[in-house]
């Protein structure tokens, strides 16, 4: 089993935004306990895009969702570990992180959309069909930026308007907004909302924000909807953006533009991004570092360059080899043999050993640990562990043929 050997992360040269430490998320199923995420550790640095790659069911989405505590409990439960998160203020003052898994619900709510935002895979499903775009984007302002909505009132806004700006109006209060003296104030707030929502939309290069604002999701294209989602996610300038396969449901041409947009906005907002995808070649284009996940574990983590030029884990190598390229002949598609192991009550062996062509006896007995020091190129494979540490002979360890690629 992976043992967390890390010191609690202290101030470093590059400041951390989030640090996942030995995260374990289990699901109670009829067949047993499913270890969806089983001892995952990684760090997200300030201003970087970390790509989290893995195949369906490897736990990458579960990991990402746990940042916002979106895992339904039950059946899920946070079986261990922590997710430390530093807000901008904490990073600048060297303050203590918040453990996202244990903060109170109200604190979690104040983080959501404000400090940590998320965009989803299918923008078609992630927007409420019954509300206009304006009504959906303004929601995030109501929740977290009501003071900004009230900007520009000399001598302060009336209390009714202040209530309205944080969505706390009484049931029939809107009637009062129809008549003087509140009518002018309410119009002003409306204009302010139009302005702020318009600005948020314009940032995602939506050509006609005013028009888009008034439309309903079904009137927009997929790419447009994803832009709206991004606009909403970045509206409050979050410290961390979690993008859960944001381009999977889109056409290839739109894909490229959305990714470019995320990259650009990430730079202008100085936001860190956790970019989840099953497509390694896609992640390469956008991320600074990549973590490869396999069966609830991190198999390998490192700089994008390192992963592509010096892939160490046999699984990473397999993935890279499986990317079709023009050099391949027609019909020649590489695949990794075998299937992903069951994650219900998994054995204490290397998760990949059943599919690994280099596996030795030791791989079926011991689980390789991942060196979790932040920022290094780390790999969870016995081929890279020292025999002394495991107490075995060197020839008992797998030997990777370095010329595979």
């Amino acid at each position: 089993m992976t043992v967390s050997t890390r010191e609690p992360p202290a101030a470093k040269t590059r400041s951390l935004v989030a640090s996942v430490d030995d995260l374990r998320i289990h699901f109670d199923t009829k067949a047993g306990v499913l270890h969806a995420v089983d001892g995952v550790s990684f760090d997200i640095f300030d201003g970087e895009i970390l790509g989290l790659v893995g195949e369906t069911g490897c736990g990458k989405s579960v990991t990402a969702r746990s940042f916002l505590r979106l895992i339904p409990t039950p059946p899920g439960n946070y079986a261990g570990g922590r997710i430390d998160f530093w807000t901008k203020e904490a990073r600048h003052s060297g303050g203590a992180p918040i453990d996202l898994l244990t903060v109170s619900d109200s604190e979690m709510r104040s983080m959501r959309g404000n400090r940590i935002a998320m965009i989803f895979q299918d923008p078609g499903k992630a927007l409420n069909p019954a509300l206009s775009i304006r009504e959906q984007v303004v929601e995030v302002f109501y929740q977290h930026r009501s003071e900004e909505l009230l900007d520009g009132w000399s001598g302060g806004a009336p209390r009714a308007i202040r209530r309205a700006a944080s969505q706390r109006s009484g049931k029939f209060e809107w009637l009062a907004f129809k008549v003087p003296p509140l009518r002018s104030h309410s119009r002003r707030l409306n204009r302010r909302i139009d302005e702020m929502v318009g600005d948020a939309l314009a940032e995602t290069q939506i050509a006609n924000p005013r028009k888009v604002m008034a439309s309903y999701p079904h009137e927009l294209s997929g790419g447009m909807k994803q832009r709206v989602m991004i606009a909403q996610a970045l509206a409050c300038n979050p410290d961390l953006l979690i993008a859960d396969e944001p381009t999977t449901a889109l056409d290839v041409t739109i894909q490229a533009r959305i990714m470019e947009l995320i990259r650009e906005l990430q730079q202008s907002h100085q936001t860190s991004v956790l970019y989840i995808s099953h497509d390694l070649s896609l992640v390469r284009r956008i991320s600074d570092r990549i973590a490869v996940m396999y069966a609830g574990r991190i198999a390998e983590i490192g700089q994008t360059q390192e992963i592509f030029h010096d892939p160490r884990h046999p699984y990473t190598r397999g993935l890279l080899a499986a990317i079709p390229s023009l050099a391949h002949k027609r019909g020649e598609l590489a695949a990794i043999e075998g299937t992903v192991p069951e994650l219900i009550d998994p054995p204490s062996s290397c998760r990949f050993s059943t599919r690994c062509s280099f596996a030795t006896e030791i791989c079926g007995q011991l689980d390789p640990a991942l060196d979790a020091r932040p920022g290094i190129h780390a790999v969870a494979c016995h081929a890279y562990t020292s025999p002394q540490e495991l107490g075995v002979r060197p020839d008992q360890l797998p030997r990777l043929d370095r010329t595979v690629l």
Binding site: L70, L131, V138, S169, W174
Partner: protein
Amino acid sequence: MVDTEHRQRSPFFTSRALAIRARRFGEVARDVLRNPTTTLGLVIIVTLIGLALLAPILTEPNVPDAYQMPRDWGALNLPPGSPDHLLGTTSTGGDVLYGVLWGARTSLQMSVIVVGITMVVGTMMGSIAGFIGGKVDEIIMRFVDVLLAIPELIFALAIAAVLGPSFANIIFALTVVFWVKYARIIRGQIIHVKNNEYVDSARVIGDSQFNIYLKDVLPNSVTPVIVQATLDMGNIVLVGATLSFIGLAEAGLAEWGVLVSEGQAGISAGRWWASTIPGAMVFLWALAFNLFGDGLRDVLDPRTEGR
């Protein structure tokens, strides 16, 4: 689930989107009216409701109690077409036209009250069950299952019979019987809708649970409830008339079921009008709401397309 602080939505939601909503309503209305049978249903509904509302103008209300049939003891068993009694009279001198018009009024009252209460109660119970889930869901839905297991008519009959014959008791009995359907429908919808990604995405921006329910879950779940309510407007009058036919309403009430029962003895003697005309009204009422409800379902629920 309840977060009292944030429970109300902004005034702008109501005022500004109203125009857009009105436009959408117009679209739905146009689609509904494109179908001739639905339009026919709507025309009958409007006519019947119009008759119900105009009853005091079209007929002289009975002075002590307008909902009691006036008795003209000098004109028993008149056939339709008689100058003072256009649709004839019953064997006890009740004017059939009066009964038909004021019966429409009682039917309207009955269906509006019952549908109103059952829709609200059912939606609340189903929402609590579906949105909270877990044990609460289990308890509410097992209770609903028990109620659903008893045949509608017999259950309503039993309740009304225990409480004694009165129109109010019929309404009470129907309310007890009919809310469960709504609970089940809305619960299923909510469980389906709450797993939508837009609910997650509302959660992700820090929205409260109650707000999510009000803004994301409920508006996307109510359509089948509206359809069911339309159909029930017809069903309730049908079941209600059955109960009063059996004799569970006050004797002499201007109600279609009561009239049918009053006139049935005369059918064998050739005096068909006293029970056939009010019976036809029940039929028309139920038919109209069913036609309209079906058409509405076709428009609102794309899954049942392709008739």
